[in-house]
């Protein structure tokens, strides 16, 4: 990197060529006051607080927008500078309401701090203050236009960084204000990034309104409990209760960025159905019990089942939300105390596919994503995934890559946020991503655009070649609906790019991709001679990768999830579920319900009385993520600490401790009695990950639908997570529910017309497994013959219609819709 040397306040410093004075100063620990600068945004130069003196320069220069030069001599705090800053503050304070006593920002307000630093001004003019009404009409974000100093940070973070553009300046000059179009109610994705960047109290968190003065709170750095990004959210605790979340520059891998879940979703731990005591089913009802009683009960029942049916009749489900330590203890308990290998999790329908694809293709047992991988590629190809929704903060790197000049091609049937921020939208029929990838490879091979030396040396190359013979541009065009030219051009442009990346998600609730889609992605990577890490498939939740790595999956002959829950012959007699809610989040609810009902013993260990817990024989209360110590492993493979920052709820204890006690109750000692002891053993296990040599192999992957649409069920139901929620957990957050609180069915205007469905009316959605009622939203985002439904919501029972899939076929659900 080219460095430039300059002098700031007599100190010689170095900074990258092209940097501004402000950037050079901040990088070298010299603070220059500013109100409209943010490291993530291009300079704006509006507030005029950052003025400095530059030797040889007439007048003052704005540090945020003046580039450094070799030998430049800068003074940031001279009497002239101070006078100018004081003048700017005087101007800002002319109209800024001095309502600090009732402003939630007071104490961390930049304007307040600067006024304090540069001294008060005599009140030389009594100007009229702005008198706009506060806007409290949207969820989680409150706006107070009177306090706004028009720095524009919120507008720019929303548009340029977040890729949304929900607000902008309206009006001109002094009458300028920041508002959604036509002063409508703010209706955005509610990430809250605008709140964090607001230097004053013009934008605030509605859920924190009048909750506390900032100086009464302790701020704790915590790993977010939701997706696999592993962001650090700064949680403010007052009187033992978390009341606010925010991002902070320089903290965590997210460096201050957060999505709505990370910022607002913490309050699920205050849901009303939190479990406070163990419960045992007596005469058909769950009644409170003591820990001793409950553990004794589980130990005895479990013991007798093992005795009667053997340990292989016991199964366990781990949790992608529980810590590595919790999951490690679950599998240790099952393997050592019970003696069963029937251990699996919901990741079977999600991340397990990615893992299997990586294992088969690359011979790798551990492939975390690279946080900055999107920034290192010139051509990014995303297959049927809204990464900005599944992994919101990592997704920002895709938008950033595009802003930096990379080509972002998104193949998706739906107009997602990522599509709106892409360079190229390949709108295909849902579920046909695998066919598109095959079609691209066919063109690449036919036109000799691949890395012949590398690819032909990889096992199964000829099998791949022959498997692609039916994926001609014409055939793929017929399947995907993408034109032959677009397929050809995509193949050519992708293969000729300087550096490349294929990315997709592997969510358990997604039904437009399968193992085959991921294998096809891997095939493309190898065909072009790219490194395996140019295939990026993130693990879904906060500790999916940690759980997986801790051994929550069959190691030998144990049953996988589909055998445990969906097999016709119910061989399992007892099921132990930790932190999972299959009745809501697993596909084909009827089958799951049937299996659970058939258990002789169902133990559910959770923080809530979930729908699954309601069916249990014994319910054990566990601590939430903020009530215990432990570690999560992010999708990028970082093992990060969670800490006990608030008191446990009722008699709840950490999941790992339940296993310590339960094993003792069963007369076995697992030998580990603290987080530290468990961690030590886990790290030993984790240290072996990703150390094996790679062994590449092509795996032909066909496009096939498990169930096809028919005249009876002519439409395809697409399910997925939405940005504001994460599994079923987030639906217990009041904050997030205030944004989206119910499932809905998105359909195209043409289909609405065809089936005579009015916007926001209820529709009946019928598959061969059952029917549900949903509110219809007519939207241009979804193509014809397709309906989109988010999962998340227990009461919507969307999974009544769906079915599980763990292999290559695409599990789209043929449905029929009619007005209800």
């Amino acid at each position: 990197m080219n460095l430039v040397e300059l002098t700031i306040n007599g100190k010689t410093v170095k900074a990258a060529k092209g940097a501004t004075i402000l950037q050079a100063a901040l990088k070298n620990g010299i603070y220059i006051p500013n109100l409209c600068y943010d490291r993530r945004l291009s300079p704006y130069g509006g507030c005029r607080m950052c003025v400095v003196e530059v030797e040889g320069q007439k007048g003052l220069s704005a540090a945020c927008s003046t580039q450094i030069r070799e030998g430049m001599v800068v003074f940031t705090e001279t009497p002239v500078v101070a006078k100018s800053r004081k003048a700017v503050l005087e101007l800002l304070l002319l109209h800024h309401p001095l309502d600090c006593p009732v402003c939630d920002k007071a104490g961390e307000c930049k304007l307040q701090d600067m006024a304090y630093k540069y001294g008060s001004t005599s009140n030389r003019f009594s100007a009229s203050r702005k008198d706009e009404p506060e806007r409290l009409d949207s969820p989680v974000v409150e706006r107070n236009p009177n306090r706004c100093i028009l720095c524009g940070l919120c507008v720019r973070i929303c548009q340029d960084h977040q890729g949304v553009g929900a607000i902008n300046f309206i009006g001109r000059g002094f009458k300028t204000k920041i508002s959604p179009a036509f002063e409508e109610t703010l209706d955005c994705e509610f990430c809250g990034q605008c709140i964090d960047v607001c230097p004053v109290g013009a934008l605030g968190s509605k859920t924190y309104r009048f909750m506390s003065r900032v100086w009464y709170m302790n701020e704790e750095e915590m790993i977010c409990p939701y997706c696999g990004c592993g962001c650090t959210t700064n949680l403010s605790v007052r009187q033992g209760k978390i009341i606010r979340g925010r991002g902070k520059e320089g903290v965590g891998i997210n460096d201050g960025d957060l999505c709505g879940k990370g910022r607002y979703g913490f309050d699920y731990i205050y849901a009303e159905n939190r479990l406070k005591t163990p419960m045992i089913r007596k005469e058909g009802n769950l009644v409170r019990a003591s820990w001793d009683e409950a553990l004794k009960y589980v130990a005895e029942r479990m013991g007798s089942i093992i005795e009667k049916h053997g340990p292989a009749s016991v199964g366990a489900i781990g949790s992608q939300r529980c810590s590595i330590e919790d999951n490690f203890m679950l599998q240790k308990f099952m393997r050592e105390a019970v003696g069963t290998d029937n251990i699996d999790s919901a990741a079977r329908f999600g991340y397990a596919k990615a893992h299997k694809a990586m294992e088969k293709s690359f011979g790798s047992d551990f492939m975390p994503i690279g946080w900055e991988a999107p920034l290192n590629a010139k051509f990014l190809l995303v297959i049927e995934s809204d990464i900005t929704s599944a992994m919101p903060v990592w997704g920002l790197n895709f938008i950033l890559a595009r802003n930096n000049g990379a080509h972002l091609a998104v193949a998706d049937s739906k107009e997602t946020k990522l599509v709106r921020n892409s360079s190229q939208w390949i709108r295909l029929v849902p579920g046909t991503g695998v066919a598109l990838l095959n079609g691209m490879m066919k063109v690449i091979i036919d036109e000799g655009l691949y890395d012949k030396e590398k690819a032909q040396g990889i096992q199964n190359f000829s099998a791949l070649e022959s498997s692609l013979k039916d994926y001609t541009p014409a055939a793929v065009s017929a399947i995907t609906g993408v034109s032959e030219d677009e397929i050809r051009n995509l193949a050519r442009e992708y293969s000729s790019a300087k550096s490349r990346l294929v990315a997709m998600t592997s969510g358990a609730s997604e039904n437009i991709k399968s193992l085959n889609t991921m294998l096809a992605g891997a095939n493309l990577v190898m065909l072009l001679g790219d490194s395996p890490d140019t295939l990026q498939i993130p693990a879904e939740f906060s500790n999916t990768l940690g759980m997986w790595s801790a051994g929550v999956r069959p190691a030998e002959q144990g049953k996988e999830m589909q055998e445990m829950l969906y097999a016709k012959d119910a061989s399992l007699k007892a099921l132990y579920i930790m932190g999972e809610n299959p009745i809501v989040t697993f596909h084909d609810v009827a089958a799951v319900e049937n299996t659970l009902k058939g258990m002789e013993l169902l133990v559910v260990q959770d923080i809530f009385l979930t729908d699954t817990a309601k069916m249990a024989d014994v319910v054990l209360p566990a601590c939430s993520w903020a009530e215990k110590d432990g570690t999560f492993m992010s999708a990028a493979g970082a093992v990060q600490k969670i800490r006990k920052i608030v008191k446990e709820t009722g008699e709840a204890i950490p999941d790992w401790e339940i296993f310590v006690r339960l094993s003792k109750a069963m007369g076995k000692d697992l030998g580990l009695n603290s987080v530290a002891e468990i961690s030590a053993q886990v790290s030993e296990k984790l240290s072996t990950l990703g150390k094996n040599d790679l062994k590449l192999s092509f795996n032909p992957a066909a496009y096939e639908l498990i169930e096809n649409s028919s005249s009876e069920f002519p439409m395809l139901l697409v399910t997925a997570n939405i940005l504001q929620h994460s599994g079923a957990l987030s639906s217990l957050s009041r904050n997030l529910d205030s944004v989206v609180s119910d499932a809905y069915l998105e359909l195209s205007p043409a289909d609405a017309e065809k089936y005579k469905i009015i916007n926001e009316s209820y529709v009946k959605v019928i598959s061969k497994r059952g029917e549900i009622l949903l509110k219809a939203i007519i939207s241009n985002e979804v193509p014809e013959k397709t309906v989109f439904v988010p999962i998340h919501f227990a009461h919507a029972k969307v999974n009544t219609l769906t079915y599980p899939a763990v292999n290559g076929g695409i599990p789209l659900v043929p449905v029929r819709i009619e007005p209800a």
Binding site: Y44, G45, C47, R48, L92, F125, G173
Partner: protein, 414 residues
């Protein structure tokens, strides 16, 4: 002096036929036989300075843009003539549109631009129709299009109608507006000549600057420089309004004195009254007193008298004018037109006009004039663009030149 306005006297001057009959489009034909770099050199040698107000040498701008390797390049005509007192581009736009088109076509050829835009003031709807028709006619006659005059030069020209914001006359705000964004100035550098419209090299010149080009090309730099003064060569359009007998647009050589403009060409002050003050170049230039009549109107001499040539829009005030009200009105204009981006302009100019308002309504305080000066000082040189500076120097000009009257002292009316 009859160069820029010469065609106007011919009948049907807005029509292609009238323009050609009075000698139009000959320069374009000549230019297309020259090397583009020769035209750029000729313009640079002529010393032609931009007529929009800042007086930046046009040839310099063209040289930088034509040397930038980035392609494509764009040409923009600043026809957002929106400053009170300035209406000198209006006759060209409304009466002589082909002169502008010809000037732009030659400029485009010189710098290597294939696309040009005329950013037209939103309050000039008549000009819009006239320009659009002239452009259609020029396409039909082969003066615009893919193969101009059969000489293989491609240039397409579009009219973009502004939405009524003065700030869009600032060239970077104009580019933002042209790109469909909110009209707010950009950080410079990069300058438009390197990264302008769609981040490509862009030359932006005023209507009048382009109108100078056909003549300059026709007669060459040497003959052109014989008009005007050595530092400010060429003809200049002055729009004169206010208390004169014959207000209007006058084409005169650069360096013509204020006295000559007011007393010879405009027929002196209305009703034989006494001259009190003159704003020489649109309301963003400081007001001058009656004893500066011998000042030559050009880029070099006006600053010596504490003002600037600006756009050449003179506003003349006689002895009955209430300068406090004038100052208030001008400040209100800037307050209304401030884009709101930077603090000093957005908040400061509003403050200035609030103080002037209370001064005019008799509620002023003794310290108000000092306060005006101090606020102006806090605005001047601290704003993002020149709009706030304009407001500040104007207020300073009023206070410095007419302090007794601004202070409202008895007997100051004289």
């Amino acid at each position: 002096m009859n160069i820029l306005l010469k065609h106007i006297e011919y009948p049907e001057s807005t029509e292609l036929k009238g323009y050609c009959e009075s000698g139009g489009y000959k320069a374009l034909s000549k230019a297309l036989d020259m090397k583009p770099s020769d035209i750029v050199d000729e313009v640079r040698r002529s010393g032609l300075r931009g007529r929009g107000g800042a007086g930046f040498p046009a040839g310099m701008k063209w040289t930088i843009a034509s040397m930038d390797p980035k392609k494509p390049k764009y040409l923009i005509c600043n026809a957002d003539e929106g400053e009170p007192g300035t209406f000198k581009d209006k006759p060209i736009l409304e009466k002589n549109p082909h002169l502008l088109i010809e000037g732009m076509a030659i400029s485009a050829y010189a710098i290597g631009a294939e696309y040009g835009y005329i950013y037209l003031r939103g309050e000039y709807p008549e000009a819009k129709e006239i320009l659009e028709k002239a452009i259609i006619d020029s396409y039909a006659a082969g003066y615009l299009g893919d193969n101009i005059l059969g000489k293989g030069f491609k240039f397409h020209l579009f009219v973009y109608f502004g939405a009524g914001a003065y700030i869009c006359g600032e060239e970077t705000a104009m580019i933002e507006s042209l790109q469909g964004k909110r009209g707010q100035p950009r950080i410079k550098p990069p300058f438009p000549v390197n990264e302008g419209f769609l981040a490509k090299p862009t030359v932006i010149n005023n209507v009048e600057t382009f109108a100078n080009i056909p003549y300059l090309v026709e007669v060459g730099a040497y003959a052109y420089m014989k008009i005007g003064t050595p530092e400010s060569p060429g003809p200049k359009l002055f729009s004169v309004s206010g208390s004169v007998n014959k207000p209007g647009v006058y084409e005169l050589p650069m360096g013509t004195t204020l006295r000559e403009i007011i007393y010879e060409h405009c027929g002196g002050i209305k009703d034989g009254k006494k001259l009190k003050a003159v704003i020489p170049g649109g309301v963003s230039t400081p007001i001058m007193t009656a004893d500066t009549l011998d000042c030559p109107m050009d880029f070099v001499n006006l600053p010596k008298y504490g003002s600037m040539l600006g756009s050449g829009g003179l506003i003349v005030f006689d002895e009955t004018a209430d300068l406090r009200k004038v100052c208030l009105r001008i400040t209100e204009f800037f307050e209304h037109e401030s884009c709101g981006k930077c603090t000093p302009c957005r908040e400061g100019v509003g403050w200035l006009s609030s103080i002037l308002k209370r001064m005019c309504s008799g509620e002023g305080k003794p310290e108000d004039v000092e306060l005006l000066l101090e606020i102006s000082k806090n605005i001047l040189g601290k704003c993002f663009c020149a709009l706030g500076d304009g407001a500040a120097i104007v207020v300073q000009g009023f206070v410095n030149n007419f302090r007794p009257e601004m202070e409202g002292r008895a007997g100051a009316q004289a």
